[in-house]
């Protein structure tokens, strides 16, 4: 996708379809720990937006509080960002997207931020099917407060101190599927290919695209006994499908065998091909998806891939019947009724 005239110059950085280099999509220097899964996710976000040629000015980044919620400072430096308060990113993002429906919302949260303090807002956001991408960088532990369990920590997993978690984990994917999100996936920060395809599909989806990305905390939760460590994920990740994302502007046709592959056509015309690794998995059934997640939990497997997708359900903004233009910048004459209207109202109160 190089711009004309640059193909022959080997040293020039590759440009995307809107003439930007991958460097243009970077943010500030990360202050997270070296090896933190969150940094890898930031990298994938940068690549996905670069590859898709998304204008960063269209994107609004949202986050709550925690290590994960700091990370929007480290990618897409040209985008507007709102690092809000703990657990309240869903409402802040909802308000912003209501104000300007042309924004592409990208929320980054953590397991503490979403599954504990923010669970109330999280479930209602999923239920509304607000069009945005919502990523939980899930490491099962509170990092900034130095290593307490979060609500996604698996039962039986241990802290570095040896303390054992005896409560069941909240499965945010199962919740999201049950509540009405229309694109739900789970991935692993170390699975470059899967996460990249999933992020691109999420960005192309119209509706709530929720991704739970297991993202190991190298400082507090990467030890033996943790079920959110790099080594645990390497051994226990069980991908449901092999994903390929074909953007709308890419006109290549990719043949696939409908017996082994499901193709999902996304809102903007791009396609997501799911080559089934688990042959009878059906990502269009909410109940089956939830049941399968429950099974995997008891099998110590970390099921990844696109768990559920519904490209047809109306999103929140559609249901509200709003004008197409952003509410934020409607001209005064569209939002302040006339003197005649006020006269009519006054008359009705006499």
């Amino acid at each position: 996708m190089a711009a004309p005239g640059t193909t022959a110059v080997a040293a020039a950085p590759r440009k995307n379809r809107i003439g930007l280099t991958v460097l243009d999509y970077r943010g500030g220097k990360t202050t997270l720990c070296a090896g933190c899964g969150h940094n890898a996710i930031s990298e994938r976000i940068v690549e996905a937006c670069f590859d898709l040629g998304i204008a960063q000015e269209r994107i609004a980044k949202f986050s709550g509080i925690g290590c994960s919620s700091k990370s929007p400072a480290y990618f897409l430096g040209r985008s507007h960002a709102f690092n809000s308060v703990h657990g309240r990113m869903p409402s802040v993002a909802t308000g912003a997207i209501l104000a300007n429906r042309t924004l592409l919302g990208l929320g980054v949260s953590g397991d503490g931020d979403s599954a504990s303090i923010g669970i109330g807002q999280f479930v209602h956001l999923m239920r509304r099917n607000l069009p945005m991408v919502y990523v939980i960088e899930n490491n099962g532990v509170y990092g900034l407060t130095k290593g307490q369990f979060s609500a996604t920590a698996d039962s039986g997993s241990t802290l570095k101190t040896g303390a054992v978690n005896d409560l069941p984990a909240i499965d945010t994917c199962a919740l999201a599927i049950q509540l009405g999100a229309t694109f739900v996936g789970r991935s692993f920060s170390g699975d470059k290919k899967q996460l990249s395809a999933m992020l691109k599909a999420a960005l192309a989806h119209r509706g709530m695209a929720f991704l739970d990305v297991i993202s190991p905390c190298v400082t507090f939760n990467d030890h033996e006994g943790s079920t959110k460590s790099y080594s645990w994920l390497k051994e226990h990740q069980e991908p449901l499908q092999e994903l390929s994302f074909i953007p709308a502007f890419d006109e290549i046709s990719v043949d696939y065998d409908p017996g082994t592959t499901v193709e999902v056509r996304l809102h903007d015309g791009s396609r997501l091909q799911l080559r089934k690794l688990e042959t009878d998995y059906d990502p269009s059934s909410r109940s089956r998806a939830v049941a399968r997640l429950m099974e995997s939990g008891s099998q110590e497997a970390v099921l990844t891939g696109v768990l559920f997708v519904d490209e047809k359900a109306p999103d929140f903004l559609t249901r509200l019947g709003m004008v197409d233009a952003p509410l934020a910048t409607l001209p005064a004459d569209a939002v302040r009724p006339s003197r005649a209207v006020l006269d009519e109202v006054n008359e009705s109160l006499r």
Partner: protein
């Protein structure tokens, strides 16, 4: 006594008496007599006792009056107690089976067998129960001299297009009216037509706030139901549906019922950040929940309008009773050195005009603006001048667009380039590579970048303080009343206003005590407040809370030598303020 009467109607909650009471209020209003109504209701769907007081006053007094002249006793639960509380000479219309006659020798009793009055109207027993309430309207009309044609007209308005209900109620009112012809009038209270209400409207403060918000151009309205604010957004929704759509019928607004007040406030902040005129409406418990996000709004400098229709706290308190109890906590809502802008409308006209102004101020000052009304102002009906169409264009504040950025080459979000403490902002979605900035509640420098540096932090907090201080003179100024030359001053705000005006008259007429009155309409206070205190020997600060909350704010704001002039007159009963209580307390304190 003509055109000076206070009625109290005692019924059970959920019995349908609200329509009857509104009809009575409207009938008096239509006769050109100044009138006000106060609904004193319980936190309950049905069954608990409820009272409605209507005051007709030729002098235009609309505050609650404690002394009742005419009681309509329909509730067996409270009838004896209600009668016991009446002053000598009062009259009692009561449902005959209550057999109240003889319970006091110094009252006039009018027993009415309401069951018999409504019996011929319908065979439906449930309906008859409701119609009894309209029958008392007819009885009151006959005894007081309310014109029955005005009762008919008021019923027509209350029941609108529901012809069958309207006709049944007219029949019931007339049945009561006819029945009462047989009663011998033995009390002195009566009303007659006058001409004091030309051009006026009747409206509650919540509707007025809603209309103000609509004419301010509000676009994003997240909310969570809570008494007594719910009707504000419900009314707003109705008006928006009617008046705010484009040529294709698409909405130029979004009203969202949020999952709680935290989410409502989060959505207000998100929308305000993205450039929308956004608001929510709530009451004390909701404001408490909004605290953290309100602090974010202050520190990250995000506009938004929050209507707080105050009820009685602490905690769940008295959810259906009125108070001015959130002034102090809202002024500093959230942790750290947070300060919040408060607007304090004192009438339904101001509910409208200050609502309009609140949106301009929020965007001008880039901060949350809290509009504090209360249950009395918000849920009761008030006479008012018709609302005035805003004469100023929308003030959208300092926003840089693409062309500005092309010209400037960039911007620093929190730089005080104009010396007023207010930076320029961009809106997400602005098509310029330098438009984006990182909004955060963490420490930040002028460029909105993360910073924990001591000098950066204190410089930023200093600028915020300057911005807040300079807001004094652009907020709605206080309203003076009086010659300005008296020794005794009164400061009050909000729904206390009618009681204060009446109290000023009482103090003058009964004791020859002249007072000046300053009605405060915003925090931070204008300089004029300081000047008022400086010009008076003693200043009574009257408010509807226990601790004298506005008085406490004044003490923080005034120079030390002025603080000793302040005398709190703080009342909290859950009932709307009455003039007599204010007068008595000021006189008591003046003796010392």
């Amino acid at each position: 006594m003509t055109n000076d009467v206070t009625l109290q109607i005692a019924t059970a909650n959920g019995s349908g008496s609200q329509s009857s009471n509104t009809v009575l209020l409207r009938s008096l209003f239509q006769m050109g007599i100044p009138v006000s109504g106060k609904n004193l209701f319980p936190s309950n769907i049905a069954g608990l006792p409820t009272w409605y007081t209507i005051r007709a006053s030729k002098d235009g007094y609309v505050a609650r009056k404690k002394e009742v002249d005419l009681l309509v006793a329909m509730n067996p639960e409270t009838a004896r107690e209600d009668v016991a509380g009446l002053p000598a000479g009062a009259a009692v219309i009561y449902d005959a089976p209550l057999a109240l006659e003889g319970s006091r020798a110094d009252l006039v009793f009018y027993p009415v067998a309401f069951d018999r009055v409504v019996e011929p109207i319908t065979g439906d027993a449930k309906l008859r129960k409701l119609l009894k309430n309209m029958a008392y309207v007819g009885v009151v009309a006959r005894l007081l001299g309310i014109e029955i044609a005005e009762v008919d007209a008021a019923i027509g308005r209350v029941f609108g297009s529901k012809a069958k209900a309207r006709d049944l109620n007219v029949t019931a009112a007339r049945a009561g009216f006819d029945h009462a012809a047989a009663l011998e009038k033995r009390d002195a209270h009566r009303v007659e037509r006058m001409d004091a209400n030309q051009g006026k409207i009747v409206v509650d403060g919540n509707s007025a706030c809603a209309l103000g918000a609509m004419f301010a151009g509000v676009t994003v309205v997240p909310w969570y139901p809570i008494t007594p604010s719910s009707s504000l957004v419900e009314t707003l929704s109705t008006y928006l549906k009617k008046y705010r759509h484009d040529a294709d019928g698409k909405a130029t607004y979004a009203v969202i019922q949020a999952e709680d007040e935290l989410a409502a406030m989060g959505m207000v902040m998100g929308a305000g950040w993205a450039g929308a005129r956004s608001m929510t409406a709530t009451s004390g418990p909701g404001v408490s929940l909004m605290s953290e996000l309100a602090g974010l709004g202050y520190y990250a400098e995000i506009p938004g309008v929050i209507f707080n229709v105050q009820r009685v706290g602490p905690s769940t308190g008295l959810p259906t009773r009125t108070a001015q109890g959130d002034v102090l906590s809202t002024a500093f809502l959230s942790h750290g050195d947070t300060q919040q802008i408060l607007l304090l409308p004192g009438s339904v006209e101001e509910c409208f005009s200050l609502a309009v102004e609140a949106f301009d101020l929020a965007e001008r000052l880039q901060t949350p603006v809290f509009v504090l009304t209360d249950l009395d102002l918000g849920m009761n009906n008030w006479m008012a001048q018709p609302f005035q169409h805003p004469d100023r264009p929308l003030d959208r504040g300092k926003v840089l667009g693409k062309e500005d950025l092309d010209r400037l080459g960039g911007f620093a979000r929190y730089a005080d380039v104009d010396g007023d403490g207010i930076g320029w902002r961009t809106l997400p979605g602005t098509d310029h590579p330098r438009a984006g900035y990182f909004t955060r509640g963490t420490g930040h420098d002028e460029n909105a970048a993360y910073s924990e540096k001591a000098d950066v932090f204190s410089r930023n907090m200093g600028r915020l303080s300057r911005k807040f201080d300079q807001a004094r003179e652009i907020l709605p100024p206080p309203v003076p009343c009086g010659t300005g030359k008296e020794k005794v001053g009164i400061i009050a705000y909000g729904s206390s206003d009618p009681a204060i005006r009446e109290s000023q008259d009482q103090l003058r007429e009964e004791r020859g005590l002249e007072t000046d009155y300053l009605r405060v309409r915003a925090w931070p206070f204008a300089r004029a407040v300081r000047e008022f205190v400086a010009a008076h020997d003693r200043v009574y600060v009257v408010e509807q809370n226990r601790d004298g909350q506005l008085c406490a704010l004044l003490k923080l704001d005034l120079p030390p030598e002025q603080v000793t002039r302040l005398r709190p007159v703080a009342h909290i009963t859950g009932l709307p303020l009455d003039a007599r209580s204010v007068t008595d307390e000021i006189l008591e304190k003046e003796k010392v």
